[in-house]
């Protein structure tokens, strides 16, 4: 590549910069343009921007992280009341109270998130609904603090150099500035590390945990981000209208804001703004068209138009762009421009991947263990679900550097065993240690961070994300800047993210998926999906790799490639624990084999020993083929 920076290409490619720039340009143009058009137009702009802030919060929390929350109203109310109370009862300047209000909303979200974010799906929606109802009721009941239903009047507006910023136009500059800041936060979230983690959690929480992402942590950050945006919206509102009562922030608000996000396109950072513009302008425009005498008809027309738009564009207005883009959405910052130079990329054939791994020691972590050390120790493991004994008194040792296969008939408990080792299931009794650590109290992501990776029987990819993003999620699961540091030190955060992107591309190349980097993971054929899942598992330089029926669905040739890959992985230091039904495949590959049947271990030894074991033949293999 040439040394000169192509500005056009950079801008086109860097979505994060684009987000902030776009927001700034929009705000500037709108303020200047509408400023000349009169107070009415500017007032609409202010309302739009305030709503856009809260709606963008919804985009981050619900669109990116997949958590359906009806609680934005609660956080907007908290932001509004904190700012109003601090300004009126304690006489603090609004310049101070607004940031404090944001922090208050964020802290409230963080605290409330602990119980609430344990819930999922409809339960979470309900829980956040309850939150909104509770906050509303509190603001009515706590009359001494909040002024009750009569509210707080004479809230001071912002002043600059002694001049009151009360006119809509003056205030629009403040709101515009905050809006740009808000979009900066949104851009950092959406196109940076957190966005990928959030999407991973949304796509498949189990798989996300398996690659070391803490779902609760990610949800919490998303929740707080959404809350802060709602809080600032509420705080700005009160210093503009200068009157606050519980009414604007009831359940209605949460629904409105969610509606805007869905309307505008909940999968896009611009969804909040687009939805806010459309719905606000639509409502105002309907006044014009249907005439003043029929407010009820306005409301009806609004409902009809709303439904019609959703029917036509289920993905919202921002989703219209999807129709035109040739490839799927890419959410990494550079929109698909890899930074690797073309030399040095491992040339791999299309398919599972060849033996290029042999020399690539970067795939595995430093080998701290000696070959043959105890890696996983399972002692007297019992696992019971209700009345079903999935595992009974299983003892097993996995030694470093080996390929250990677990075989047995269906229902033998093989996947259960994997789940226990990976931390997804708590054993009923018995001890399990991995790398010397007792894992029984650990969450799956903690086990993953210990150096255990896994692939799943039914491939669990983040189907809506691209291949690069899938791998990135694993790379960035534990390393990288958190949200706050990422906002304060964006340049360094971006550098780390860029490095991760490069690494992701390299990994894809290793498994032969280099040219599919920006394809949607769900669009790939099965063999390539398994390769991707493997690349993702390898991203974390695991010491132990659990593979659950990796050969199922593959043909002969693909299986041979897979075997070669597994051997080369093993050669570079990864211990492999493998469940398989394809007996020949396993026998040729494994160093040792363990046979489970009906929850109990019935045999263990080299492939040859196991093959000729009487019990094994009876239970599983049948007469030797």
């Amino acid at each position: 590549m040439s040394g000169r920076v192509d500005l056009g290409r950079v801008l086109r490619a860097d979505r994060e910069i684009l987000t902030v720039l776009g927001a700034a340009v929009f705000a500037l143009v709108a303020i200047l343009l509408l400023g000349g058009a009169g107070a009415y137009a500017v007032t609409i702009l202010n309302v739009v921007l305030l709503r856009a802030l809260a709606a963008t919060g919804v985009v981050l929390l619900t669109g990116y992280c997949g958590q359906l929350s009806l609680g934005q109203g609660a956080f907007a109310a908290i932001g509004a009341y904190i700012s109003a109370i601090l300004a009126t009862q304690y006489g603090l300047s609004p310049w101070l109270t607004i940031p404090l209000a944001c922090i208050a909303a964020g802290v409230a979200a963080w605290v409330v998130g602990f119980p609430l974010l344990q819930l999922r799906g409809h339960y979470l929606a309900l829980g956040t609904l309850a939150l909104a109802a509770i906050v509303y009721q509190l603001s009515v009941e706590l009359r001494g603090i909040t002024g009750g239903a009569s509210g707080i009047t004479s809230i001071p507006s912002l002043t600059l150099f002694g001049r009151e910023l009360g006119s809509p136009w003056a205030y629009s500059w403040i709101i515009g500035l905050v809006f740009v800041l808000g979009m900066y936060v949104a851009g950092r979230f959406a196109f940076g590390r957190m966005g990928r983690l959030a999407q991973a959690v949304r796509e498949d929480e189990t798989a996300a945990e398996a690659i070391g992402i803490s779902p609760f942590g990610v949800k919490n950050v998303s929740f707080v981000s959404g809350a802060v945006l709602a809080g600032v919206s509420g705080a700005l509102y009160v210093h503009w209208v200068r009157f606050l009562d519980p009414v604007p922030f009831g359940l209605q608000y949460s629904i409105e804001v969610l509606t805007m996000a869905v309307f505008g396109g909940i999968g896009s950072v611009w969804g909040g703004l687009l939805g806010a513009i459309t719905l606000t302008v639509l409502t105002e425009a309907l006044r014009y068209v249907t005439g003043v005498a029929s407010a009820e008809y306005q409301a009806l027309a609004f409902g009809v138009v709303f439904v019609a738009v959703l029917m036509l564009w289920p993905r919202g207005l921002a989703g219209i762009a999807d129709v035109w883009s040739a490839r799927g959405r890419t959410s990494d910052r550079r929109g698909g421009v890899p930074n690797v130079s073309s030399e040095g990329t491992a040339e791999a054939e299309v398919g599972i991947g060849g033996g290029a791994l042999i020399a690539d020691h970067r795939v595995t972590g430093p080998i701290r263990l000696q070959h043959g050390d105890e890696l996983v120790v399972v002692q007297r493991l019992h696992c019971r679900f209700g009345g079903v004994k999935a595992l009974e008194d299983v003892n097993l040792v996995v030694r470093a550097g080996e390929i250990l296969a677990v075989i047995g008939p269906n229902g033998a408990g093989k996947t259960t065993l994997f789940n226990v080792i990976a931390g997804a299931i708590k054993p009923t009794a018995g001890a399990v240690t991995v790398l010397g650590r007792d894992i029984r109290g650990l969450r799956p992501y903690e086990v993953a961070r210990l150096g255990v990776a896994r692939t799943f029987q039914n491939v669990r990819l983040f189907t809506e994300m691209t291949c690069v993003e899938n791998v990135l999620a694993a790379l960035e699961a534990h390393d990288g800047y958190g949200m706050i540091r990422g906002l304060v030190l964006p340049v360094r955060a971006r550098q780390r993210e860029d490095a991760a992107v490069d690494e992701a591309h390299r990994l894809l190349a290793v498994v032969g998926l280099a040219e599919f980097a920006h394809f949607r993971a769900g669009d790939l054929p099965l063999a390539k999906q398994r390769a991707l899942e493997l690349a993702r598992a390898l991203a974390r330089r695991p010491t132990l790799l659990l593979m659950d029926e990796p050969a199922s669905g593959l043909n002969e040739a693909e299986r041979d490639e897979l075997a070669a890959l597994i051997r080369s992985l093993n050669a570079s230091g990864v211990t492999i624990l493998l469940i398989e039904h394809a007996v020949d495949f396993v026998m040729a590959l494994a160093d040792r084999v363990v046979v489970l049947s009906r929850g109990m271990k019935i045999a263990e030894g080299t492939p040859l020993e196991v093959r000729n074991d009487r019990h094994v033949i009876e239970a599983y293999l049948g007469e030797a083929a």
């Binding site: 344990q118 339960y123 009721q137 359940l251 009820e296 409902g303 709303f306 969450r443 961070r449």
Partner: protein, 308 residues
Amino acid sequence: MRDVLVWQLPQWIVSGVVMGCVYALVAVGLVIVHNVTRILNVAQGAFVMLGAMLTIQFAKWLPLAPAVVAAVVVTVVIGAVTYGILIYPRFEAGLLTLIMLTFGADVIFRTVALILWGPDPLALREFTPGKPLIIGTAVVTRQALWVIGVTALLVILLQLFFKRSLLGTALRACASNATAARLVGIRPQLMGLVSWMLAAALGAFAGAVIAPVTFATYFMGLELTIRGVVPAVLAGLASPVGAVVGGVVFGIIEAVAAGVYSGLRDVVAFVCLVAILVVRELRTGVLTTHLRARVRAWRMSELARGQQ
């Protein structure tokens, strides 16, 4: 104090049971629709509102019983049409979009009701006028008996329908495993239509029978939906019977809370809900595990950093 409780608590419970029956019917409708179509129908409460409004309207021209039947029939037709226009074409769309569509439907129903019937509440006479009964220390109006009776009848009929009839079994199959149901020739979209019509019927009956007690307004729908969602979700959005029980219990909790402190009514029910949900999750030890894990994670990251 104890005196007050002896004399007031039973009445609270009675009043709670009556409202709880309505919540129960809303909840069952939600559960049925969700089971078959996985959609949370925000407009469920609107069916109740329509049932109430239409009954009042028809009762001006017809005797009461035919008026109720006519109202239910019309509501079911409205439900079917809504399904056909909004849901059926977008059956495969994302969950959030579908929920938003039902929300749009609710807005439309509400504004049409406002246009047709105005903003003021409308009254319906009691089904069987007469003095209320005194049971113990509680007063039970005849309409209250109607509400409880109709709810119980509907629930029993529903169970029979699901367990004994072919259509009901097909619905259950669809709820259980849509793909398998398709393989044996059951069309999920058609089942979706049936579930909607069923939910509309339940809602309409609820509206007709509760109108004499609470009066009908054009905006009563959304509140009822929210209150119906609580027991529905607590029943895992899966079991109709659980939804019924949950609805009645929820109504009682609400009434008792209102008796203790009126401002609490809306909130306490929600607080209970959140508490139940959270405790349920806590039993799996997630929160405490998380806290322990935070400490361990910090320690591990120290170690990991040392290793790399």
